[in-house]
């Protein structure tokens, strides 16, 4: 399954990229995060993040479909 991932802020720096298109067997955002955290050594634990799929906040257990765009959201700090 092909997914599009975008990275922001600390996670962009730790991944060394802003986005990528990935072939993965991860069925949910939770599984995808586990896979990517292993690859990039993300220091933020999953309970510190939110996740968005196709530009809307999502559940970690939502089933992913090919073509979905996934964004992990570190603690925000606007204003």
């Amino acid at each position: 399954m092909q997914l599009k991932i975008q990275y922001y802020a600390l996670m962009r720096e730790q991944a060394g990229r802003s986005d990528e298109t990935l072939d993965t067997a991860a069925a949910t955002p939770a599984q995808l995060y586990q896979e990517l955290a292993g690859r990039y050594g993300f220091t933020l634990s999953r309970d510190q993040l939110k996740v968005a799929v196709n530009s809307e906040f999502s559940d970690w257990s939502r089933p992913l479909a090919t073509g979905d765009a996934v964004v992990f959201i570190p603690p925000v700090a606007g204003g």
């Binding site: 975008q6 922001y8 802020a9 600390l10 220091t43 933020l44 634990s45 309970d47 510190q48 939110k50 968005a52 799929v53 196709n54 530009s55 809307e56 906040f57 999502s58 559940d59 939502r62 479909a65 979905d68 964004v71 959201i73 570190p74 603690p75 925000v76 700090a77 606007g78 204003g79």
Partner: protein, 172 residues
């Protein structure tokens, strides 16, 4: 659109004009300025970035929510992204209403929610050469203490975004 991003300095005069109406007797605005000290560290500049596609939707929901909660006339929030120096305006919120109490309440509600919910991040650069993503670096330094550190963060799980949101926005 009641929530917008800009890469250039926020034009308050023009934003304020969008809120004017002859039935409004009160206007309250908030501006967030880059200050020289944060958590005891001397700041030299900031970088803001946002997940804009989601941020404008979430920002719009906040302003719409404010208009539902408080009897106000108009409300608008503009957030800057990019590199900012000391004293620069990072965010502006403006609210007009018939009476002043609601304008104060709505303005404060909007900036509180924006800081809490909208996917915007800032990296502070310090005089001593260090830099750090606000609300993230301490998590990163000691992830095993993340629960204790959470009390220090504005980042909390939200009930606002349960899957019913997705039903309308996800084409799947």
């Amino acid at each position: 659109m009641q929530f917008r991003f800009t890469e250039s300095p926020i034009d308050v005069g023009s934003a304020r004009r969008e809120l004017q109406t002859l039935s409004a007797g009160g206007y309250v605005s908030f501006e967030g300025w880059v200050r020289d000290l944060n958590d005891g560290q001397e700041v030299t500049r900031l970088e803001y970035e946002a997940f804009q596609e989601l941020a404008v939707k979430e920002g719009d929901r906040i302003v719409t929510d404010a208009m539902r909660r408080f009897p106000i006339k108009h409300a608008l929030c503009i957030h800057r992204v990019g590199s900012l120096g000391l004293g620069d305006m990072a965010v502006w919120v403006g609210v007009s209403s018939a009476h002043r109490g609601e304008a104060f309440d709505a303005c404060r509600f909007i900036i509180d929610e924006v800081k809490h919910r909208v996917p915007i991040w800032k990296k502070e650069h310090y005089r001593n050469g260090d830099s750090g993503w606000v609300n993230c670096e301490r998590c990163a330094a000691a992830p095993q203490h993340s629960h204790a550190l959470h009390t220090h963060h504005e980042h909390q799980p939200h009930d606002h975004h349960t899957p019913e949101h997705l039903a309308t926005t996800n084409p799947k």
